[in-house]
């Protein structure tokens, strides 16, 4: 039997309108013990505004369906009204746990349309910041995952570590979240003074804390009971459903865009892809925990090999003149003004770029009509595709395990609903 038949025959997705569900509830049938319950959109364990309707038989989940759209922000429409330079401001608010990645994929798409080459330092700064962001995003996951399963102390610890990284981000980008730091043509500003020491501090403190997490969760029998063998998915199913990131890797398939289709300078750094074996909730947890360690390896290499030079492309068409020039030259002032009011024009064409975000493949499909604003901007959100695996993972499991499964997918609703 093929994967497709298997997915179809399993009948895990509850395709039923609310009206139908109401009618079902009105019919009293003593032999039928199934019931349909609703969870969310305002529920402490659904990670934002996810709503799930589930068909239960006793404690067992039969069919279910994620209902999304409660955070639909119309960002793709707003993007058509912003210039290419303003674009990152918009897309950074999609995945609010890993904002730099959305900025990165959008900027890469604009640069592909412009066909400009980035200076090396810009590439390495982007890589450094993205890996730090991956760490903070996974720490957020560890915190919320722990809290969902009853390890409430984990909430405090995960946030404590994340705060260390956010403090560095605030120093460099000026903001704790939604940085608008990676822009078409490079990054918004150079790294702050003393950045090496700041990062070294983070790298010194984090390994010990991660070991504490291992004691607190990884090796702990209650944690293992709650996560091992729960929400299992196979490689073929994950691929058929379009799932990427830790969900696909948990099934044992080593697919990571940083390795498979390298962008930035990932082909020059040394790191390992973490894979699981069983495709269960525990594997997805362990992958994220160990990816923090791999990201730290990449950050260390960025520290060693950070090249000198400009941090944005020295192309007058895209990059405004430096601040000092504006004070002495009228032309530079006009030029600066024009770039930020009219924006630069991007040659017609369409392109799709993808990066490996903490949640999977994050893509940007960008169409330009030759003007300063995109004709169409679409973000391929990993959480959006990953959520489709939810009914298949929950099928046949207990209601209490549903919490563990939702948490292990780590959906960020801002990027699901866009």
């Amino acid at each position: 039997m093929t994967t497709l038949d298997h997915l179809r025959n399993r009948d895990a997705v509850l395709r039923m309108s609310e009206l139908e569900a109401e009618q079902r509830a009105a019919v009293v049938d003593p032999d039928d013990e199934r019931m349909i319950i609703n969870m969310g959109p305002q529920h402490p364990s659904t990670h934002g505004v996810l709503r799930v309707t589930m068909e239960l038989q006793g404690e067992t989940v039969l069919r279910s369906k994620p209902i999304i759209g409660y955070l639909h922000t119309g960002m793709e429409k707003t993007a058509e009204d912003l210039t290419f330079l303003q674009g990152p401001t918009n897309v950074t608010r999609m995945d609010y746990a890993a904002p730099l990645f959305t900025e990165l994929t959008f900027s890469l798409a604009v640069e592909a349309l412009l066909e400009i080459e980035l200076p090396e330092r810009a590439t390495w700064i982007r890589m450094l910041m993205c890996e730090l962001n991956r760490m903070s995003s996974h720490l957020l996951f560890l915190a919320t995952n722990g809290m969902d399963l009853g390890a409430v102390g984990m909430m405090i610890y995960g946030w404590r570590e994340r705060e260390e990284i956010l403090r560095f981000f605030e120093k460099v980008t000026g903001l704790r979240m939604n940085h608008n730091y990676i822009r078409p043509g490079g990054v918004a500003a150079d790294l702050s003074d003393g950045w090496r020491e700041d990062i070294q501090d983070i790298l010194n403190v984090l390994p010990k804390r991660l070991e504490q997490f291992d004691v607190l969760m990884t090796g702990q029998p209650i944690w293992r009971e709650r996560t091992q063998g729960i929400g299992v998915i196979t490689t073929d199913e994950a691929l058929a459903l379009g799932a990427t990131g830790p969900i696909l890797r948990s099934t044992g398939y080593a697919w990571d865009l940083r390795r498979a289709m390298p962008y930035l300078a990932y082909d020059e750094v040394d790191f390992d892809i973490v894979v699981g074996t069983y495709g269960d909730t525990f594997d997805r947890y362990a992958i994220r925990l160990n990816e923090i360690r791999e990201s730290m390896r990449i950050v260390e290499q960025c520290l060693e090999r950070m090249p000198e030079g400009p941090y944005r492309v020295q192309d007058r068409k895209v990059t405004p003149p430096p601040r000092a020039r504006i004070d002495e030259s009228m032309e530079a002032l006009i030029h600066h003004f024009k770039i930020f009011t009219e924006g630069f024009k991007v040659p017609p064409g369409e392109v799709y770029t993808a990066v490996e975000s903490p949640r999977g493949e994050l893509g940007c499909y960008l169409v330009s009509d030759g003007g300063p604003k995109p004709q169409r901007m679409h973000i391929r959100a990993p959480s959006f595709a990953n959520l489709q695996t939810l009914p298949h993972m929950m099928h046949g499991g207990f209601l209490a395990d549903a919490i563990a499964v939702i948490s292990s997918i780590d959906p960020i609703m801002g990027e699901v609903d866009r």
């Binding site: 309108s17 429409k77 459903l241 799932a243 007058r316 799709y352 009509d369 595709a385």
Partner: protein
């Protein structure tokens, strides 16, 4: 960093996207956009093409979205393809050979119907629902053609170019039976 890019208004200088009509793959025109392979099937042959590509190894439907080209006069298309208002853009991925391919299908404004590919790629189900919400493109044979991002009973398709961008009054409904 080239000298020829010094002018701000210069837009003409760009990479020539290959759009000759000679190359074909499975009967669909094959072009290249910024080094990425693009296929242009007709809306009738689209489902069959996806099936053939699946057999060839493109086993993941990474992305499926629509695009409204109303008012876009600089669209890069091969001359043999009749431009229509809407486009359906599908990005496929071959994980074992590590390659991508993009399929652009022209969808007419008056007859926005196309076959669903959720029978081949179950992962396309949610993406097709989203495209239906946003552009009004209908997918024939879709297992669950309900709104996904927009509230039930919403009128209009927001990502169409003729849908107003600006705010609309809040459609506030009081809670019943309070």
């Amino acid at each position: 960093m080239s000298e020829s890019r010094s002018s701000l208004d210069e837009t003409t200088e760009h990479h020539e996207d290959r759009a000759d009509d000679s190359e074909r793959l499975h009967g669909a025109l094959l072009t290249s956009s910024r080094g990425q392979i693009v296929l242009h099937p007709s809306s009738e042959s689209y489902h069959g093409l996806i099936e053939l590509l699946m057999g060839e190894g493109y086993n993941v439907c990474v992305d499926l979205c629509g695009a409204d080209h109303l008012g876009n006069e600089t669209r890069v298309l091969p001359s043999a393809i009749e431009p229509e208002r809407f486009e359906l853009v599908v990005n496929l991925l071959d994980v074992s050979a590590r390659r991508r391919i993009r399929i652009r299908v022209q969808i007419s404004e008056t007859n926005p119907f196309v076959a669903t590919i959720s029978d081949i790629h179950p992962g396309a189900e949610a993406m097709e629902r989203e495209t239906n919400d946003m552009f009004g493109v209908c997918f024939e044979g879709h297992p669950d053609p309900t709104p996904i991002l927009l509230p039930d009973g919403w009128e209009g398709h927001p990502l169409r170019k003729d849908f107003a961008m600006g705010r609309i009054p809040v459609q506030f409904k009081a809670v019943e039976g309070r």
